[in-house]
């Protein structure tokens, strides 16, 4: 197992290398000039050029890449072109809100989606099954920003139960931390839940046709044990795979949710960096996300051994 983990980690290195080169070139090929954005609307071309030189953006691209890679090897993600703060510091500042939103969304979605999927599979063809599937299709189709606005209007503006926006760290109080996370989690979680519920239903439905399930039922095992002990365990692999693949969906959804609810997370940091052409931040955040995505996929693969003892690495 350890050898497998090490092999997988080593295998991510060439992937990260490709990401580094690709993102470095892509941001520089795209139209836009960070020096012009920094200088502002009323600056003259001479002022813009001065800023360009000061930031090292006038250097040949291969020199810029060399500097970037040498810094990266030392663990230095560089400095924001705009704020001049270290990219690492900016990412650290923004990590907690995104992590909190991602974990709460994942927890909420998984805790609700899997029982819903199982219920739909168990009652396949019934009204409950149809209702769960309508919910799944609807949840996947509803735009996240629209849902966010609807929740703000209902729970914040009209009912005055929850805050409209913002993030409060759990260090400043658990209660305000939770209160500020509820609506963003519902917004993002619904979409994730819709996807997981469908996959859970399909997977469990297939397993429920198996001989051993028929045997368990014939032996008089309680339905809840049949579903959660026998069926779910065998249906878990596709569901866990979807959780891992859906992580990319989560990252995309986080950007929108953070904008609607003004959460100061990595999603917004990325969007702002793209609009401002802050190359250092774009490169740094993309690298981090790529690494995290590779790690999530590794964890998903490793988790298969928990559900299927036949799988060994």
């Amino acid at each position: 197992m350890l050898a497998y983990i090490l092999r997988r980690i080593l295998a991510t290195l060439p992937v990260m290398g490709i990401v580094v080169v690709f993102v470095f070139l892509l941001v520089r090929i795209a139209p836009g000039d960070p020096a012009a954005i920094i200088a502002g609307d009323y600056a003259t071309p001479e002022t813009i050029q001065k800023i360009r030189v000061g930031l090292g953006l006038d250097k040949p691209i291969h020199i810029q890449f060399q500097i970037y890679v040498m810094n990266l090897i030392r663990g230095d993600l560089g400095r924001s072109l705009h704020s001049q703060l270290p990219v690492r510091q900016l990412i650290q500042q923004r990590l907690e809100p995104t992590a909190a939103l991602a974990v709460s969304t994942l927890t909420f979605a998984v805790c609700l989606a899997i029982p819903l999927g199982i219920l739909a599979a168990w009652k396949a063809g019934s009204f409950i099954d149809r209702a769960v599937m309508v919910f799944a299709v609807g949840g996947f189709s509803i735009p996240a920003f629209w849902l966010g606005f609807l929740l703000i209007y209902t729970f914040s503006v009209k009912l005055d139960l929850l805050p409209v926006q913002g993030y409060v760290s759990f260090r400043q109080g658990f209660l305000p931390f939770i209160q500020h996370l509820i609506l963003p989690t519902l917004t993002l979680g619904l979409i994730y839940m819709a996807l997981l519920a469908r996959i859970a239903r399909a997977s469990v439905l297939e397993v429920l046709q198996s001989d051993y399930i028929r045997t368990a039922n014939a032996k008089g095992v309680r339905p809840i044990s049949v579903l959660f002990v026998h069926a779910l365990k065998n249906a878990a692999v596709p569901v866990v795979t979807t959780i891992g693949v859906g992580f990319a969906l989560l990252i995309g959804g986080v950007v929108i949710t953070e904008s609607v609810f003004a959460l100061p997370g990595l999603g917004r940091l990325t969007v702002d960096a793209v609009l401002q052409r802050d190359y250092s931040i774009i490169q740094g955040v993309t690298l981090i996300f790529s690494f995290v995505y590779a790690l999530v996929n590794l964890l998903v693969d490793l988790s298969y051994t928990l559900f299927d003892p036949r799988i060994r690495y």
Binding site: P45, I152, Q165
Partner: protein
């Protein structure tokens, strides 16, 4: 039974948490959603308006504009001008301190002015006429001119980018290819809380308790800067609907520039007050270096094509929020004149077509850049494209974001030679800029050294220089102003599209005594 009891307790806890919610801001903290995020902290390095707002809180200036548009001493206590109008001697006020407790000295002022003048148009004009600028002692410094310059004090009291903020000498001597290094230490009424700064999310300003305000009442950017709150927090809320909802719920106290589609909603709210924070002149900038607009007849065609009311309806809509104005220098301001504006006042599409043909236009593509992330500029671009098509022009309307536009507009090549070339873009300038042609880059007619579009009119440039040395209100001033504006109307550096009003919104049940300036200042205001 036990399971039910546990679920019941969890449900009660959840309800309790919801009911316990109270998002109201602390009493002595003002939470504001500003027009942009504070990303750049060096006000001499960037023209970004939000950095100037940051500057007004953290730094101070030698002079500042009052509500009548006249520069008043701010850091300066007294000053005198020699009889030959060549030597200014300034003395600083008592009690001026940096946020680290050290006293403000003339050396700080001298270094700051020299740094500010490197990039600033008004500063460059001043320094071009300066023989020397030196500190005599810690409180006195002397500016010696090569020739009399009537705009000296006005330049030192410039209210918009780049504002001549005074920095500590150790930062003011640093170059401008990068922002200054070191902590943000100013001598203004607020201190910047660097440890709480999250670029793109939040910046915090704390009252500077050792600040000594002037004795006069506050007047625009001038007068006594008395701070009545403990903290000001700038929060970034990217979505306008969310920001308006946050104002409604009291989670924020102030919205700097709500978007126009939110204005009706804000006006309906009994707890919300709005005031006109600024007036913006919308502008259509042709590329003077590229055919057909290198021919003045083509630019005249643009003038005749424009009906300001059509543009303003497309950009803003409700006539209560705009006004037509046929002056480059703003309406109802101290430089208002419509000399030479006949072409702009009455639309004539047939004449416009004729002039375009006379300018040699033969149907080649005209590139109009449309920044889709700037709603007002985008609306102006769409209107221009539609109007040009009515003239039979082959329009290439290119959608892009503002970042791309700013990277393309320095390109002088025609689109036929360079795909990134352009013919027309749109922008706007705040009122402070349009009534200050000496410092306003957009109206420069300095040819190669002019702003994007590169208008060239030695006649207008000369008249502007002469105007700066004359006393307002005199016959000579009026005559030269007429000459200047006529020259502008004949050269057409850009086409003025009228003036739009920009608003700020605030909780009127909490905030009062707000000074209504384009760059919002948070002194004087009181929070209940």
């Amino acid at each position: 039974m036990k399971r039910r009891a546990v679920f019941a307790m969890l449900a009660c806890l959840l309800v309790g948490m919801l009911l316990a919610y109270s998002g109201r801001a602390a009493a002595q903290t003002v939470r504001a959603v500003m027009q942009a995020e504070v990303t750049y902290l060096d006000p001499h390095w960037t023209t970004a308006d939000i950095t100037q707002v940051h500057g007004y809180l953290v730094y101070d200036t030698l002079f500042a504009m009052d509500e009548h548009g006249n520069p008043q001493p701010q850091m300066v206590d007294t000053y005198r001008l020699s009889a030959d109008r060549l030597i200014y001697t300034f003395t600083l006020r008592d009690g001026l301190k940096w946020h680290d407790g050290k006293p403000v000295r003339s050396a700080d002022v001298v270094a700051s002015l020299k740094r500010w003048a490197v990039n600033d148009a008004a500063g460059q004009k001043l320094m071009a006429r300066t023989a020397s600028l030196e500190a005599v002692n810690d409180k006195t410094f002397v500016l010696k001119l090569k020739e009399p310059y009537g705009l000296t004090i006005r330049a030192l009291g410039k209210e918009y980018s780049y504002v001549p903020f005074i920095l500590p000498e150790r930062q003011a001597v640093q170059g401008l290819s990068k922002p200054f290094e070191g902590e943000v230490i100013g001598s203004g009424p607020f201190m910047f809380a660097a440890n709480e700064w999250v670029p793109g999310a939040k910046s915090v300003y704390v009252k500077f308790k050792d600040y000594v305000p002037r004795k006069e009442p506050a007047s625009y950017y001038a007068g006594g800067k008395r701070v009545n709150v403990e903290r000001v927090e700038f929060l970034v809320i990217p979505d306008q609907s969310t920001a308006v909802a946050a104002l409604d719920k009291g989670e924020v106290d102030f919205l700097d520039r709500p978007q126009m589609d939110q204005w009706p909603l804000l006006r309906k709210n009994a707890n919300v007050g709005m005031y006109r924070a600024d007036i913006s002149q919308m502008q259509l900038h042709p590329n003077h270096l590229v055919p057909p607009f290198n021919n003045v007849k083509a630019r005249q065609a643009l003038m005749l094509m424009v009906n300001q009311q059509d543009y303003l309806r497309a950009i803003i809509g409700d006539p209560a929020n705009w006004r037509t104005c046929y002056s480059f220098l703003g309406c109802k301001g101290w430089l208002e004149t419509e000399a030479g504006a006949d072409l702009l006042k009455k639309q004539d599409l047939e004449k416009a077509k004729q002039l375009l043909a006379e300018a040699g236009y033969k149907g080649e593509k005209i590139v109009v850049m449309a920044p889709s992330d700037r709603p007002t500029y985008n609306a102006a671009a769409m209107t221009t494209a539609a109007m040009l098509r009515k003239l039979g022009v082959n329009v290439d309307l290119q959608a892009m974001d503002w970042g791309t536009l700013t990277s393309r507009r320095p390109i002088k090549d025609p689109p036929s030679k360079n795909p990134a070339g352009w013919h027309i873009f749109h922008t706007a300038t705040g009122y402070a800029g349009i009534k200050d042609p000496w410092g306003h880059a957009n109206v420069s007619t300095a040819c190669d050294k002019a702003w994007f579009g590169w208008p060239c009119s030695p006649r207008a440039s000369k008249a502007l220089e002469e105007l700066g040395d004359l006393n307002p209100g005199t016959e000579a001033f009026k005559k030269t102003l007429t000459e200047y504006h006529t020259a502008l109307m004949e050269n057409i550096p850009y086409v003025p599209l009228g003036e739009t009003f920009l608003y700020a919104a605030y909780r009127k049940d909490r905030l009062s005594n707000i000074i209504e300036t384009p760059h919002t200042v948070f002194w004087n205001l009181v929070k209940k």
